[in-house]
């Protein structure tokens, strides 16, 4: 039996209230909220967060696939940074899928039909011009699905695709604005493609539409998702999270699949339909193992209910739509490629060193023990899953940051280790001594086109 063995999702902390948009630009917006990736997040960092949750059950992937429509790098692979942050073995291949939404479902299909344990992560940051529907209705998210043969929670019992070339939306590489053609044209075309793939998938699974308890439809818009989903004849159409999260592009298929798994019962037939340059339908049957599976971190619904508001002006500055006066401080130098390569375990994997004799944890890793008595008597100590407490802190209103001020703390980790580290997903007046924190992989800044990835600490919430 081959199917899904684990999953994880990640919704960034901040929410934009769509009602704020029209107040400023005189148009756009709508009801509800959308998720907003932090200024220090990109699809790579969000994919790491979702993947960490998917791997909490102990999965050991033999292949890693990553999809986003907004890759941090062109030419160079993005999956390798996530691979390093997840501390996957260097014999595990890590590949980017092409920068389209359809690549994300392509990754799921490749993993479902492939062999070994395959981790598929998809993440996206959706934007658009101020006041556009894409800005208001888009959302930022990541999700990760592990396919394998052992301990399957949902077996793939059928799948089918319908591929078609037509222009419903497009974006030139390097641009931030996705343009859209006539909505009705897209809806009509996707309805036809969706029905075609749906019928073929049911046939390959050997079941009827009424056998499907729940279908999730990932589409460029809620309107299209509902129009197509309602015609499938399944027991229910899963909420597409548009009221709280938004349409999350390349993340949408895996995110809805995660949500589907969290709402399904054991022994049910469930389906994922993805409408992106065609239609792809995956039909699963959940197993008894699903019931005994604890959530991998917070569920999609729990995360969608959480978060904190972000003022629209801050959103626009984070996205570069408006340029805010930076502190009069020099911008940081670009990361040294050679130094970063030497320090890969620390920079990406957050692996400290542990003195074999005293047990003391050294952060960053050191060759000489803190008592000065031994050299090269350390072993690697992974710290990315450790929690700690703030022992002191500051707010730096002068230092350079893509979004000042910097909230910074000295953290003592439970079980040892101390590190001065930047805090994130926190307002300056929230920080206090004793506050429990956990680690999150972030992009500190970008210089010369090189994202500077490293870890930050965030308050433990929920």
């Amino acid at each position: 039996m081959r199917g899904i063995t684990s999953w994880g999702s990640y919704l960034p902390y901040r929410r934009l209230n769509r009602g704020e948009i029209a107040k400023l630009v005189g148009q756009g917006g709508g009801k509800g909220t959308r998720t907003v990736a932090g200024f220090d997040e990109d699809p790579t960092t969000m994919a790491v967060e979702a993947s960490r949750r998917a791997l909490q059950g102990g999965a050991d992937p033999t292949l890693f696939l990553f999809a986003t429509t907004n890759p941090a790098y062109a030419d160079k692979t993005n999956a390798t940074a996530a691979h390093a942050a997840l501390r996957l073995g260097d014999d595990v291949p890590a590949f980017d899928l092409g920068a389209s939404t359809r690549s994300a479902v392509g990754g799921l299909l490749l993993a479902a039909r492939g062999s070994g344990d395959v981790l598929v992560a998809a993440a996206d940051i959706r934007g658009g011009l101020a006041g556009s529907a894409e800005e208001a209705m888009g959302g930022d998210a990541a999700a990760a699905i592990v396919f394998g043969s052992g301990d399957v929670v949902a077996e793939l019992i059928g799948s089918a695709s319908a591929t078609h070339e037509f222009i419903d939306r497009w974006r030139a590489p390097g641009e931030s604005r996705t343009k859209v053609w006539d909505d009705k044209f897209a809806e009509t075309t996707y309805t036809k493609l969706g029905r075609q793939a749906w019928a073929a998938a049911l046939k390959s699974a050997g079941c009827q539409a009424t056998d499907v308890a729940m279908v999730a439809v990932a589409a460029p818009s809620t309107r299209i998702a509902n129009a197509v989903g309602s015609k499938f004849g399944a027991g229910a159409v899963l909420d597409d999270l548009s009221a709280t999260v938004g349409q999350t592009g390349a993340a949408q298929p895996a995110l809805l699949l995660a949500s589907l798994l969290e709402q399904a019962q054991s022994g049910q037939i469930i389906a994922l339909a993805v409408l992106a340059d065609g239609a792809d339908v995956l039909i699963f049957k959940t197993t008894e193992a699903l019931a005994s599976r604890d959530g991998r971190g917070l569920t999609v619904a729990e995360q969608a209910a959480g978060g904190a508001p972000l003022p629209y002006g801050k959103y626009l500055s984070w996205r570069g739509t408006i340029t805010v006066e930076p502190p009069r401080r020099p911008e940081p130098a670009r990361v040294s490629a050679t130094a970063a390569a030497r320090g890969e375990d620390w920079k990406f994997g957050f692996v400290a060193s542990r003195d074999q004799q005293s047990g003391q944890i050294h952060m960053p890793p050191q060759r000489v023990s803190a008592d000065g008595l031994r050299t090269d008597a350390m072993e690697p100590q992974p710290m990315s899953e450790a929690r700690g407490k703030v022992i002191t802190y500051t707010i730096d209103r002068m230092a350079y940051s893509p979004s000042p001020p910097i909230v910074f703390a000295v953290v003592d980790f439970d079980g040892g280790g101390r590190l001065p580290i930047e805090l994130c997903d926190i307002d300056a007046d929230e920080v206090e001594i004793g506050m429990p924190v956990e680690l999150t992989f972030r992009r500190l800044f970008v210089q010369d086109g090189i994202p500077n990835y490293f870890w930050k600490a965030r308050p433990v919430r929920g």
């Binding site: 502190p327 040294s336 970063a340 802190y393 500051t394 707010i395 730096d396 209103r397 000295v410 001065p420």
Partner: protein, 235 residues
């Protein structure tokens, strides 16, 4: 093995010091020349009478050439040292050790910093190529982290802590008011200090050091030679 120090073994026989201010019209070379010449005059010596030079500058230039060129030193050993905020003290310390060791009869220590040419606020270290994982805080922010931890550890409430820290700037500004070379020459009230805009953590503008250009120099000789120098304070 122990640290013995050089107490009573050397004497300072001349000093020079520029004003500490935003010297928009003076370069690093100007400041170094002004401080050095004042110092030579104060000691009644010429640059050729000084056997060796130590330059302390954190961000003003690389190597002893930064001092040798403006002073047009010929055939003199010139060493540049850097030790963050202790850079000037370090130059003095090295010059004193050199004389105390017997290697030289006289030495000059000169500290100079020209920080207002950057256009940035605060002090900015030269970036050393790195992996991007180091802290990027200002010095003020790093120091400010002591306060919450101290208050928490010793049960000092925030207001008391704020009052106690403000005493430092209050005392320093009173001293500055009496010093013609000081950057700030006005006493400042506790209230003004406490209510000043915050820079980092609970540290306000008055708690953080002003950023100024300036230079100072000292000429050192062995203690037993001090009385025979041209302008000996002992004679």
């Amino acid at each position: 093995m122990a640290s013995h120090g050089i107490k009573d073994r050397i004497a300072i026989i001349g000093m020079g010091c520029t004003n500490f201010t935003e010297h928009w019209d003076k370069s690093l070379d100007d400041l170094a020349v002004d401080a050095a010449n004042q110092c030579f005059e104060s000691a009644g010596m010429t640059k050729d009478d000084v056997d060796a030079y130590w330059l302390g500058t954190a961000q003003g230039g690389m190597s002893g050439v930064t001092l040798a060129r403006p002073l047009q030193l010929q055939g003199k050993p010139v060493t540049r040292v850097e030790n963050y905020c202790a850079t000037g003290s370090e130059a003095l310390r090295q010059a004193c050790y050199a004389v105390a060791s017997g290697a030289y009869d006289t030495a000059m220590a000169l500290g100079v910093e020209k920080v207002k040419d950057s256009g940035f606020q605060g002090l900015n270290a030269h970036p050393v190529p790195n992996d991007g994982t180091g802290r990027t805080l200002t010095a003020a922010a790093m120091f400010s982290m002591v306060a919450p931890a101290y208050g928490n550890r010793y049960g000092v409430d925030k207001d008391t802590m704020r009052q106690a820290m403000a005493r430092v700037a209050w005392k320093n500004h009173q001293n500055g008011a009496k010093n013609s070379r000081a950057q700030f020459r006005k006493a400042v009230s506790m209230e003004t200090i406490i209510n000043s805009p915050k820079m980092a953590g609970d540290l306000g503008i008055f708690d953080c050091a002003g950023v100024a250009d300036g230079a100072a120099a000292a000429i050192i000789c062995r203690a037993e030679d001090a009385q025979s120098t041209p302008t000996s304070p002992c004679s």
